[in-house]
């Protein structure tokens, strides 16, 4: 690494920004947390006898976690630019180039690097890591459920594993498309040199790293025994591990808001000349819809957790009926975020597959306007359906009917997206690759996920099905069967552009079939036991459900094996794979017009767009 060129180098003294990296961040975070923990232990007064349980301990834990967060962000260098702005000493061109990771090699991946391609790769690796953790927890759950009496995991630990698996997978699926591909591919696809706010881009990534530690920390303080929804007042009575969940969500929500503002601004303001809205690729619509939906939704989640933290640490009574609070308040705040979040996950994954459908069918995208309308319709309706999660909670029975209506209405714009996919494939010259097969897998899985969702949206049917394994199978069919399938297809499709190597074809096919077959075995089995009445989130169950659970567990092992094959394919191809040509799929979007490896600022001169990206099947296309 070289020192900044505009600084005197005779003393060989490094500037502050050159010294900061993930190791200084970890060190400062740990030291800050330790110091605050010791000070809080020393100086915080003991609770009065009337205080709720854990009150002082909660204060100490939350203060230590906040100190970790501030220390980590300071140590990674996130605060340098704001304070330089404050003092009027803006970053110089050389310093900005340093932040962008110019000529820094592999070290740039461990720094507060602003280049969108570096951030995209960071997100990709982090997403794979989070899926690895979440998947491991899933295998613990399924192994334990192989036996009706429960197994070798303590019930309290089992509860925590279920809750942690849930929140870890939700976060992984939220970032799995907009993180890696929204950051790496999207700016090039619209013909921009970088994101609108490169430093905010780095901030959004490092916030997630900072958030992960409190969640991990919480596992050693009693874990998350409430399930991923962390319903109150249950959460206010849970062990100290709940504070880790609260901190995790608060920091993650800030990351999501920052990323949402950044991606939306980039698309609105930085599209290439000539890229009108009609010529903007459908993947961009999906990405923007996803982050724009998250922008107003996640602050509500953030608030719900701030109040949860205040209830635990300060003794407020937002969710405690004895103090004038209400558990229904939490449920409303949670699901006002929680249902749009499903579409935050789904829309970009489906949009990515809509982007690939014309490429591998050599047909134009069928009815671009219907695709955009479908995305807009889902986004709009998704904020009006939250109370279908509360039909049986007794919150507002008179509102069940209108919420049933809005929920069932959402199947119309969803159907539009199906129509676009099927219409694009119709009479196409299909090039059967993993992304193409993933489109068929999505149509199958999402159809099952969608139709079973209609039953759950129906109040009388939900009275029987709610809280059962049927619900668990349903949302896995949507989030995993549709969402994750789209994300893996995106990985295969954009891997050559992101790494300069082709993803191993044979291994990716093996992985595809293992995951898809395993997935359908696992969750069909889960539908069966759910319909037969097995409740979800239980550690043991009646012997009559044993066969279905064994089938599900066997399917889960097949998924795990398939995912490990994919992981091996990614690592081996990245290291030794066949070098990728500039445009291996003969696609027409802008990211395929830049050479491998992609230059720091993507384009020597910015492109001007003169037609849409879907002119396949036409003369000279």
């Amino acid at each position: 690494m070289t020192t900044l060129t505009n600084r005197p180098t005779s003393a060989h003294k490094k500037a502050l920004i050159e010294r900061l990296n993930i190791f200084t961040a970890l060190a400062l975070g740990v030291i800050s947390a330790f110091v605050v923990w010791r000070l809080a232990l020393q100086f915080l007064p003991q609770d009065a006898e009337t205080s709720p349980f854990f009150n002082r301990e909660d204060k100490i834990t939350l203060l230590s976690m906040i100190a970790w967060f501030v220390g980590f962000m300071t140590g990674i260098g996130a605060l340098i630019a704001p304070f330089r702005w404050l003092t009027g000493k803006d970053l110089s061109h050389d310093e900005n180039m340093f932040y962008a990771g110019k000529d820094m090699g592999v070290k740039r991946y461990f720094r507060y690097t602003t280049d969108h391609k570096v951030v995209g790769i960071q997100y990709l690796v982090m997403t794979m890591f989070i899926f690895f953790i979440g998947g491991t927890l899933a295998m613990l759950i399924r192994t334990n459920l192989g036996n009706p009496e429960g197994g070798w995991i303590h019930p309290q630990a089992y509860n925590s594993i279920v809750g942690t698996h849930g929140i870890v997978m939700i976060v992984a699926t939220i970032i799995m498309v907009t993180g890696p591909f929204g950051n790496f591919i999207m700016p090039i696809m619209i013909g921009a040199r970088d994101m609108a706010f490169p430093r905010l881009n780095a901030l959004s990534f490092w916030l997630i790293v900072a958030a992960a530690v409190p969640l991990l920390w919480g596992q050693f303080l009693g874990g998350i025994s409430t399930g991923w929804t962390a319903y109150n007042p249950l959460a206010s009575q849970a062990p100290l591990g709940m504070d880790g969940y609260i901190m995790f969500i608060c920091i993650f929500a800030i990351s999501t808001m920052v990323a949402g503002a950044n991606i939306t601004t980039t698309v609105i303001r930085m599209r290439a000349k000539g890229m009108t809205w009609n010529r903007t690729p459908i993947f961009i619509y999906g990405t923007v819809a996803s982050v724009a939906l998250a922008l107003p939704a996640f602050p509500v989640f953030f608030l719900s957790q701030v109040m949860s933290g205040m209830d635990r640490a300060l003794g407020t009574g937002f969710y405690d009926a004895a103090h004038g609070g209400s558990g229904w308040l939490y449920e409303n705040l949670f699901w006002i975020m929680g249902h749009p979040e499903v579409y935050v996950i789904l829309i970009p994954a489906v949009a990515a597959l809509m982007e690939m459908a014309p490429v591998f069918s050599r047909n134009p995208l069928f009815s671009f306007n219907v695709a955009v309308l479908g995305i807009a319709g889902i986004s709009g309706l998704s904020v009006l359906v939250w109370a279908h999660h509360m039909y049986m909670a007794g919150w507002a029975p008179l509102l069940n009917a209108p919420f049933m209506l809005t929920t069932e209405l959402i199947s119309i714009p969803t159907g539009m997206l199906f129509l676009v996919l099927v219409g694009t494939l119709w009479r196409g010259r299909l090039w059967v690759t993993v992304p193409m097969a993933s489109i068929f897998a999505l149509l199958w899985n999402f159809m099952i996920g969608g139709i079973t969702g209609i039953y759950l949206s129906d109040v009388p049917a939900d009275a029987f099905l709610h809280g059962s394994m049927y619900v668990t199978a349903h949302f896995h069919y949507t989030l995993m069967g549709a969402g994750l399938t789209g994300a893996i297809a995106s990985l295969v499709y954009w891997f050559p552009k992101m790494t300069g190597r082709m993803l191993d074809k044979k291994l990716s096919w093996i992985s595809f079939w293992m995951v898809q077959i395993g997935f359908n075995i696992a969750f069909m089995g889960m539908f069966a036991v759910g319909l037969a009445g097995q409740p979800r989130r239980v550690e043991g169950y009646a012997a009559i459900f044993n066969r279905g659970n064994l089938i599900t567990t066997a399917g889960a092992y097949l998924i795990m094996a398939g995912m490990l094959v994919l992981l091996h394919a990614v690592i081996s191809s990245w290291r030794n794979g066949v070098k990728a040509p500039m445009n291996p799929w003969q696609a027409k979007t802008l990211e395929w017009s830049v050479a491998n490896p992609i230059p720091l600022e993507n384009f020597d001169v910015l492109p001007t767009v003169t037609s849409d990206a879907y002119g396949y099947g036409k003369a000279k296309s």
Partner: protein, 200 residues
């Protein structure tokens, strides 16, 4: 997609317009947050679960009486005057009047500090604790969040004034425009808090 190429230069107005949109989008998130707080306040007030919005007196504890909303409106008034001062500064930079820019920025900074101290005093002198009913919980939530907002305003105003003083806004003034957007939202969010706390 067919492409041609052209040379690329960014005008400060383009950068300013981009930054302005980014800040407005972040404010969308903040507005959602503020509206959620109002929802919490009015939801719990209307529910009045177990008559614990404002708990009546018991043998051990006195009744909880709502505070006057005057401090909330006072903070709003301070922020509104700060906004006017910042408008004055913005007008100055648009007319290339450096003195007006500096003076308006300084007054806005001083008022943000005054607002911060006043808001802190309101919180510190409240005659009840966090856990004495839903009203008190909401009171602390709204006032603490407003305190955090004003603290951010102090940081931004300090940077804005310092940069004005150093003459960094001679060439273009989109920074000052954007700080003005923040001030507008700060005043509105204080007003929303005061409005809610007026309904006890």
């Amino acid at each position: 997609m067919s492409v041609e190429t052209h040379a690329h230069h960014e005008h400060p107005d383009v950068v300013g317009s981009r930054n302005r949109l980014g800040v407005i989008l972040i404010l969308v998130a903040d507005i959602a947050f503020a509206l959620s707080m109002l929802f919490v306040y009015f939801y719990l007030r209307m529910q009045n679960v177990n008559d614990m919005w404002l708990p009546a007196a018991t043998e051990e504890t006195p009744a909880i009486l709502p505070l006057s909303s005057a401090p909330g409106w006072t903070v709003t008034a301070i922020m509104a005057v700060g906004l006017l001062a910042h408008f004055y500064a913005l007008k100055g930079v648009r007319n290339k009047n450096q003195t007006q820019l500096n003076l308006g920025g300084l007054v806005a900074l001083i008022l943000s500090v005054v607002g911060l101290v006043y808001q802190f005093n309101t919180i510190a002198s409240a005659p009840f604790t966090f856990g004495t009913g839903a009203y008190t919980s909401c009171f602390y939530l709204i006032t603490i969040m407003n305190f955090v907002h004003i603290a951010l305003t102090v940081f931004i105003s300090l940077g804005n004034w310092n940069r004005s003083r150093l003459g960094l806004y001679k060439a273009d003034h989109w920074h000052v425009d954007i700080v003005n957007v923040w001030w507008i939202w700060m005043t509105v969010s204080s007003l929303l808090g005061a409005f809610a706390l007026s309904f006890t």
